[in-house]
Symmetry: C2
Subunit: 471 residues, 2 copies
């Protein structure tokens, strides 16, 4: 057995690489262990290839606006699916090699293999044992798939295999409408595939506000069919795969399983840490330090199902990496929650969700984008945005939306909410004309009109004693 | 002569209508006077029709990305210019009728005609004289055109006539590349017209940062030719109109004169107010109250060439309207400057411009969008964004950009700058992945690295004594 290292990182995904960036600033005595392909879920099979597919799909879908704009010939456009998928892979490969470059460390500092904890300071991999002062666990997740479905081969896809296809068949079922399911179902439908989504309840993209959900659902159903019913089962059929949900039976060529992801916990040896494991199989840990109890062991990334998002995984790796370098781990303030699904219109939840506000005395300001000026100009006139604010103080609490340029409106709201602004403070900002942000302003004004304290101007009065640099 | 009214508003444009909204909340004893067509510069001939033309042009231009995405048949697309212009007018008419609806007042409360001041409390229009306790002057602007050019008829266009055309000729010169010139030159070029812009110096869209200007210029020259030289003259030519600038001679079919706008001051009787007029013909006034000296007369909208933008005109009308109702006019805090040109990539100046910072010790953080992840995914990989921050305090001062989704990034920066945030505070916000806002974050981090005070995390530490509602 070798000398004691400073830090072992288990998992070279987004969280592990983020931890590595901090760890290597402070020590050379580290080891990063990765099981399976290097290159992060995000770059290989997640955020990046999905966005590449979506951009192609939306570009093709845009043809539906052409005749109204006065552009002729849209009916001559067609999708070359092998070419679409080939570009997805080509750029994806570039993004993957970028993340692999981030792990350019000495050969002795990285190992490909399945790590197993032997205690809070010991890890074994490929039959070799390593000791370390700190361990960071960042093993991530994998798609949830019924083991029986492997018999269908590449006719049952997950995001691990979807982007490897050289082409796709004309009829597809998508199981699940979480963030992955909704993005891929719509993109595949917009690329000309007949898509049917199977879900067990009316829910998608993390939206909890029933009105926003209804508005989004209506838009999604313009692109693909959605069946709500019993959990879908798959059966062999002479013309493909039969998807069965209660009385509903549908024969398709391929199935995309998008029923969520499961953490890579099995065989990791978490039980050797000497702390009782919780229901989901993880030991308890502090989400602001990432530390497990008072052990020198930290958890980062999607293995923790709370906030399984790239930017949060990256923060968690950063926090864990920072905290391996100091005796008393620091508690970092986590960012305001922000979740975006890149379906069209973009769905987003910022700050507190509608559902989580149930106990609070709050007001809702709404904007229906079907009548918003710029949205009509751009033929993007669909969507609903709700902002939530505390009735007494006017403080912005959260927002849910499906909106044109929703990804951008969500960031604007995230900055305001993260900065603990009131509705009135946000209304003080400049809003140009004609922009979609004017729709958000309408929602804010409608919220302001319901607050306990009302004002008759968006503009603040000059405080002569404290004039702004920008006055 | 009739009884004394409370308020007379001269001009029913965006500023006048904004004033009217405030005035009518408080009194019925008002009069709004308008010369020429009702319906605002913005809705009739400005923001709205230009954005309608731009959206059609950009939709057609998007075909250049199709082959790379894997979409075939783009070469079969064509522009039906009469149809494009017809949609512009159809939606434009809807926006105009919306603004006219805003002036639904009693027939006795509005007059069509050219108003002339007879003093700080008297106005004459159509030979009739009116007295009022307050007067709001909001007569706006008109395109600057050489009177000699009227001889060319509809072959020399301005934004007053451009959108009335049923079709457009294949060769066009655009004189001037201000916000109007740059937007229209590019849109017309993208609709298939061969456009040559004539300017007297390398400047456009209010950009003062030379690097950002260069990046924008490069992009613009992909769409149309730009000639920098002496002020262009127009001459009749057997094949059209000859545009002459120094040695450069070019024959085109039509000319769009976009050399700026002139305030509607002539014959307004400003000299009867009894205060000396300034160089540009306006009396001095307080830009935070809009009041002229201590007279009961207020100025709002583009007649004041400072901040000739819809959202500022609207604020100025609002301030003037509010201040007619109270004895001691209130000083309102003006918004952080924000100017956007909807060329592609969007050009924007937020807060302090680069040029205005010359005397200040500031740092610049840059992001080149040609290498930004999401921009490459979307084939929007062009543009440059600079953020400026005070070196000592880290406070965000301003930004200039030509960037994909620049209109949205500009609003995000505007909120941060308006709220007097530091670079570090803005870096605390959540940024999703993969989004263009990550490019902005890169620029912020590069600025942060040059500040006098450096930190090793974007995340703040938890303040246990003051935990956030959102923790």
């Amino acid at each position: 057995m070798s000398e004691t290292l400073d830090t072992i990182i288990i998992g070279a995904g987004s969280a592990g690489l983020s931890a590595l960036r901090e760890v290597r600033k402070r020590t050379d005595r580290f080891l990063i262990i990765n099981d399976g392909p290097w290159g992060t879920t995000c770059a290989r099979v997640g955020c990046m290839p999905s966005k590449l597919l979506i951009e192609a799909a939306n570009a093709f879908d845009h043809r539906k606006t052409f005749d109204t704009f006065g552009i002729r010939g849209a009916d001559q456009l067609s999708v070359d699916l092998p070419a679409v998928l080939s570009r997805v892979r080509m750029l994806r490969d570039g993004f993957v090699s970028g993340t692999i470059k981030d792990t350019e460390v000495d050969a002795t500092q990285q190992i490909s293999g399945r790590a197993q904890l032997l205690g809070p300071d010991r890890v074994t991999v490929n039959g070799k044992e390593f000791r370390a002062r700190h361990i960071i666990i960042a093993t991530g997740t994998r798609p949830r798939v019924d083991p029986a479905w492997t018999a269908f081969g590449d006719r049952v896809l997950t995001t691990d295999t979807l982007f490897e296809q050289t082409t796709l068949a004309p009829r597809m079922a998508v199981l699940g409408l979480g963030p992955v399911g909704v993005e891929m179902a719509q993109a595949l439908a917009r690329l000309g595939i007949t898509v049917t989504a199977f879900v067990t309840r009316k829910a998608t993209a993390g939206i909890s506000d029933p009105n926003v959900l209804n508005a989004l659902w209506t838009e999604l159903e313009k692109d693909f069919a959605i069946h709500i019913g019993e959990r879908a089962r798959l059966a062999a059929h002479k013309n493909g795969i039969e998807v069965v949900s209660g009385d509903k039976r549908l024969v398709v060529d391929q199935v995309l399983a998008a029923n969520g992801r499961v953490p890579n916990i099995e065989g990791l040896g978490l039980e050797t840490l000497g702390v009782p494991l919780e229901e989901h199989g993880l030991p308890p840990f502090d989400r602001n330090t990432r530390q497990i109890g008072d052990l020198p062991v930290f958890i980062a990334g999607d293995i923790d199902p709370d906030r399984a998002l790239l930017h949060e995984a990256s923060d968690e790796g950063h926090i864990a990496g920072m905290n391996t370098a100091i005796d008393e781990p620091q508690r970092f303030r986590r960012r305001t929650p922000l979740a975006i699904s890149f379906c069209h219109p973009n769905a987003a939840v910022v700050g507190k969700s509608c559902k989580s506000l149930a106990e609070q005395d709050f007001v809702t300001g709404a904007i229906d984008f079907s009548r918003q000026g710029r949205a009509r100009v751009a033929q993007e006139d669909a969507g609903l945005l709700h902002v939530y604010a505390d009735r007494a103080s006017g403080r912005l609490l959260g927002a849910e939306m499906c909106a044109p340029a929703g990804e951008h409106l969500a960031h604007l709201l995230a900055l305001a909410i993260h900065s603990e602004m009131t509705v009135q403070q946000m209304l003080g900002m400049p809003i140009y004309h004609p922009v979609l942000e004017e729709g958000l302003r309408t929602a804010l004004r409608r919220a302001a009109a319901q607050l306990n304290i009302k004002t008759d101007s968006d503009l603040a009065l000059c405080d002569l004693g404290n004039s702004s640099v920008l006055e």
